[in-house]
Symmetry: C2
Subunit: 213 residues, 2 copies
DNA sequence: GTATGTGAACTATTTCACAGCT
DNA sequence: AGCTGTGAAATAGTTCACATAC
């Protein structure tokens, strides 16, 4: 184990490895080489070894990696051996999709509250969550010990909501609003801008000759 | 204008600049410096200039950039002076959210079709789009000249759908399924894995001391 | 023989810093 | 004087290649 800074890309790929390894364990495959794991994840063998190397030595020379051991180790590293409480702010289409998305719980991410400033959306029930008015946010965030906030409100409301969350000690924010949020250094923001992802693709269509012009 | 390869991050940031510039034009602000634009987008002045420099010389020494001119130039570069046809495969919660998301049309991305293999979802009407059975996909993709596909199906169906789209000449795919897609080199895939984004955040909570442990 | 772990080489990207234009 | 545009320097990230371990 070294303690050099881990590239963000590595962290994201470790989740990919874990997903694949979990699959392998289910299939009763006990051992895998970096080359095979790379094959399955569309990454190079060197990349796999280098990424894992940031966190320790998990392999056996000449043999590869024990899938069960690697799974356990990666889950520990990634904090997946425990659950995190998540709150969604904004209960429009996207917020609703997130609330009903089954993938989160499976991965240790419990959505425990949802908020909206629009009174027509307050009271809407999705799964076991009821949308609450924005005024309730401070109380509920603290009471439910929320550590991750998801921003799914329009761009112009995003900074205000962010400020509330930050003040309440929420350390990580997933931002779906198409705007750049200002936060202190100790808060981590991850931007997911769906339109921008698509727009970026359209750039490739313009520049690499498209099939349909 | 040089013709060196443009980093992917630059392309993504150009959209951020364009968004900000569009705002400035609306506010009747005619000129902006790289420093101010950087301030507004949480990026450095050097980054702004370098990014723009990949596409040409838009500024005036000593003065900055003319917002209207820059807006027009960036829209041209990014292919935003025309519209692209998009198809969504998978009409679950996420697919439905995408279908009703107003942000796409505004940005020249027309969702023109939606498909699902589940007969219970076929026929569902969202906005002006009716969900069609997967069997219709080949015919409709060609007829409507779709150039961007969005994959919002479960992981195990994703590769099959991708293969269909690729065979039909769709050049860009936005993939929401939590799996690695195999595509030929001339097809561009962008992965957006919502769970992984959240999971990545949980890693930061584990590693930077969290507020709520 | 086979596959890991890791420095070293390479490549990509960002930041610096300043010459040159207005 | 102020700010762009851009080589050069610095930093980050990926790939190579091989000594080492089993």
């Amino acid at each position: 184990m070294n303690n050099k800074k881990v590239p963000e890309g590595t962290i994201s790929r470790i989740f990919i490895y874990l997903r694949e390894i979990t699959e392998l364990v289910k299939l009763n495959i006990h051992t895998i080489s970096s080359a095979e794991l790379g094959e399955r994840t569309n990454l190079s063998d060197a990349q796999v070894r280098k990424d894992l190397g940031y966190f320790g030595q998990f392999g056996v020379s000449g043999a590869g990696y024990n899938t069960q051991e690697l799974k356990t180790a990666l889950e520990k590293i990634l904090g997946k051996d425990r659950a995190w409480n998540v709150a969604v702010v904004g209960a429009g289409h996207l917020g609703s999709a997130l609330l009903t998305y089954p993938g989160f719980k499976e991965r240790g991410l419990d959505i425990v509250a949802a908020f909206d400033s629009d009174s027509r959306k307050v009271g809407k029930q999705m799964k076991e969550i009821t949308v609450q008015p924005l005024e309730e946010l401070p109380r509920v965030i603290q009471q439910k010990k929320v550590s991750i906030g998801i921003i799914a409100v329009p761009a112009k409301e995003a900074q205000g909501v962010t400020d509330m969350l930050v003040k309440l000690g929420v350390g990580c924010i997933l931002n779906f609003a198409p705007t750049s949020l200002n936060v202190p250094d100790n808060v981590k923001v991850k931007d997911v801008d769906l339109s921008r992802e698509l727009e970026t693709l359209s750039y490739f269509l313009v520049n690499k000759k498209a099939q349909y012009a």
